[in-house]
Symmetry: C2
DNA sequence: GCACCAACCCAAGAAATACTTATGCCGTGG
DNA sequence: CCACGGCATAAGTATTTCTTGGGTTGGTGC
């Protein structure tokens, strides 16, 4: 073990003092274990084995040959970039256990705060302040353009691009709470108050309503990548700023290999 | 645990450096274990449990609430004082496991030397040098008077005591090797060479031979306590020195509680 | 909004522990 | 008889570990 002989002697003496028993008998050619010594050796071997097991497990976690990372993502990400990222992770670190929890950004942040998720995939619309609960940090990982979604055959569906002001008299289908707020702000800037008739944060539901001509709406590209109802037409609105995607985790969690790997994978899935 | 807070912090930092992973995440109201931290905690708990088990076992051995002591004893002791001692030990330390190995003194010493017995019960006749193998120590624990054994009806059986010189023309039954040597030395001192016809270190055999009138012999009191053939008469020989009983163990074994207890018990069994 | 408090970190020094070097003893074997 | 293997002891040094006395941060109560 790279120790000198007196070091061993002193350890032994110390052990014997503590045990209150002789552990070895000194004999002509070396020492011989006493009954107590043999008993202690069994325990010592077990302890050494356990220590090694602990070190092995720490190594495995550090080298991503094990461990778990829990992702909280909003639906349209959970249907697009997150599966892509999970696929990347599966090839890079086959033993890493990745778990997905579906949650809209506010709840996703709560999950991370509560320690029930390691990483949240969130978004913020342009103009919305991107704030995270204290103790968490967020890193932007990409942008997601917002598109206008019209029923096929809508008056403006023929043009390549559409100006918001041309839609002042349309009926609207809104999305989640924050998306609705964003929509209202945009329309206000364009000089009108949108006539919101329905609301659903489910992009399949929203597209069904739109396809039936019950209104028009705005959906991010990710949602349209996840699902595109053939009854709707997608158009760009010049000047419409994309929403920003973020990854949020505990301030210190960036040092956890599993979290780092997940962050990298999501980033790579968004911008290959 | 009686530690100040920085001490804990430093230990934690050290552990994290060694593991290469964060073990806790610092949060508003205290820390929270990471996955690695939880994994390590499981190992730590197991280690602590094992350590306690080891300490408990050492304590049990030190307090004689367990453990084994192996006695090597010659037959006449094994039939008398050793069972008495074992009985004492059983009441004093019910959990102590006492094991008896039968062996004449020379082999008994070998057993102790070889580590196959912890304690040897031996004897030495007066005048015989009491030497133990180096590394072992012997403590005298009592004396065992040697008696003359005659067939009932022997010419000298009528007297209360008998002088050796009156037995110069008798036929003799000898015992073990060392007893035979002792007998020859005694007779030589009395002025004759004994006519040894038979030899047996088994005191039952020897008494059977004597009872049949095939010779006379000398037996220690312990042997006669163990067994007394009604066909023989026991007489004292004035001036005949007793043999000395010894306990022999490894030089350092005196510090082993089980051995100490056994020594005490044998001594108490001999001289209550 | 401010002060306060809890919980943690950091740096430096003090205390305790662990290890090494140097030496000695004992028993064995050539 | 001497040399050597194997261990013990003593003293000095190195290292580790703990405490003391500072901060910082973020939540909480007035």
């Amino acid at each position: 073990m790279g120790w000198t002989q007196p070091a061993v002697s002193q350890h032994l003496r110390h052990l014997e003092r503590q045990a209150g028993l002789p552990l070895v008998l000194r004999r002509p050619r070396g020492v011989r274990l006493t009954e107590a010594g043999r008993a202690l050796l069994v325990h010592a071997d077990a302890l050494a084995t356990r220590l090694r097991a602990a070190a092995d497990e720490m190594n495995a976690l550090a080298r991503l040959e094990g461990g778990t990372v829990r992702l909280a993502a909003f639906p349209s990400a959970g249907a697009t970039v997150v599966p892509a990222a999970m696929s990347l992770l599966a090839t890079r670190h086959p033993a890493l256990d990745v778990r997905l929890l579906q949650a809209e950004p506010p709840e996703a942040l709560e999950l991370v705060t509560a320690g029930e998720a390691d990483l949240a995939v969130t978004f913020a619309h342009d103009g919305q302040p991107f704030t995270v609960p204290s103790g968490l940090v967020g890193v932007p990982v990409g942008q997601d353009p917002v598109r206008l979604v019209l029923p096929n055959g809508h008056a403006r569906a023929g043009a390549a691009t559409v100006d918001l002001r041309d839609l002042a008299s349309d009926r609207w289908i809104a999305g989640c709470e924050r998306c609705t707020a964003h929509l209202e702000r945009l329309c206000l800037a364009a000089g009108f108050t949108p006539d919101i008739r329905h609301g659903s944060d489910d992009y399949v539901v929203a597209q069904s309503l739109i396809a039936r001509g019950l209104g028009i709406g705005m959906l991010p590209r990710l949602a349209l990548e996840a699902f595109h109802n053939p009854g709707v037409t997608v158009r760009e609105v010049p000047g419409l700023r994309p929403r920003t995607l973020h990854l949020v985790h505990h301030r210190e969690a960036g040092r956890i290999p599993a979290v780092r790997a997940a962050v990298r994978a999501v980033r790579d899935a968004i911008a290959p």
